[in-house]
Amino acid sequence: MGRGLPPLPCGADLDALVAQVADGVPGDLAHQAGCPHCQAALAQIEELWSLAGQLARERVEAPDRIDVVVMGRIQRAILTGKVIELFGGLLPRLGWALLTYGGLVERGVSR
């Protein structure tokens, strides 16, 4: 699991206490009931998770304009795609025609 925090003076694994609070993994309740180290650690972890709970419940507003902007971008992308589809085949031919015409004009001028 990588680096962890050092064990408590009583030998309890702090990682296990975190899992107990965060994930509800069963802990050694018999030991913890009489251990001041575990009780203090659990209280601190619970305090932090309580803060995390507050943050999770904090009201977040998503601007209404997100819908409008997203749908606008999608509609423009669709339109752009249609335009490219419509003219995509035409443009190379037009470019080729212009080059050919330019070449003819140039040759005419040089004569």
Partner: protein, 177 residues
């Protein structure tokens, strides 16, 4: 439109119905924006990431698997978008050390808010790889399976990253010495 499930809306959107996709945006806008905000810590960046995520979702809608949840898919897209933005900017806001602690006991509410703000900053200091699992698990309440699917990780990798993130938070918040 209200009675339709996400799967119905996805199916309609896949056949080109824009109004179906618009309804999906409305339904998932808040959760998507919330994840982006927690990942990036900035309202404006979060809005950009949310918009980009939905536009990308539209573009890739054809590849969306019907057996997956649209919400999990959106988590995946927005988290990836945020990770790209984080890598691009590579700047982390420092913890605001110059703030003064609330002076008096009646300021307990302010103190609680202050601690939550510290927690937000501590989350922003996590590595991007740790931040995603932590935000999805602790703030969005996703299961390990959902996080694994959203972040394209194995469940053991999710657990490992989450474990490190939690310990980092404990250290950063000074909850454990």
């Amino acid at each position: 439109m209200v009675a339709l499930t996400d799967a119905d809306l996805v199916s309609r959107a896949q056949s080109g119905q824009l109004d179906a996709f618009e309804e999906l945006v409305r339904r998932h806008r808040l959760a998507t924006h919330r994840v982006a905000l927690r990942m990036l810590g900035d309202e404006s960046d979060a809005e950009d990431a949310t918009q980009d995520a939905f536009v990308q979702a539209w573009r890739n809608l054809g590849g969306f698997r019907a057996d997956a949840a649209f919400s999990t898919w959106m988590y995946r897209i927005v988290t990836n978008r945020c990770l790209n933005m984080i890598r691009a900017r590579r700047r982390l806001e420092p913890l605001p050390d110059d703030r003064e602690a609330p002076a008096s006991q009646p300021d307990r509410i302010a103190e609680a808010r202050w601690q939550v703000e510290d927690l937000k900053q501590a989350i922003l200091r996590l590595t991007p790889e740790q931040r995603g699992p932590l935000v999805l698990r602790e703030l969005e309440g996703c299961s390990y399976e959902e996080i694994a699917e959203a972040l394209d990780l194995s469940i053991s990798a999710v657990k490992s990253r989450l474990h490190r993130a939690r310990l980092e938070l404990l250290s950063a918040m000074g909850s454990w010495r």
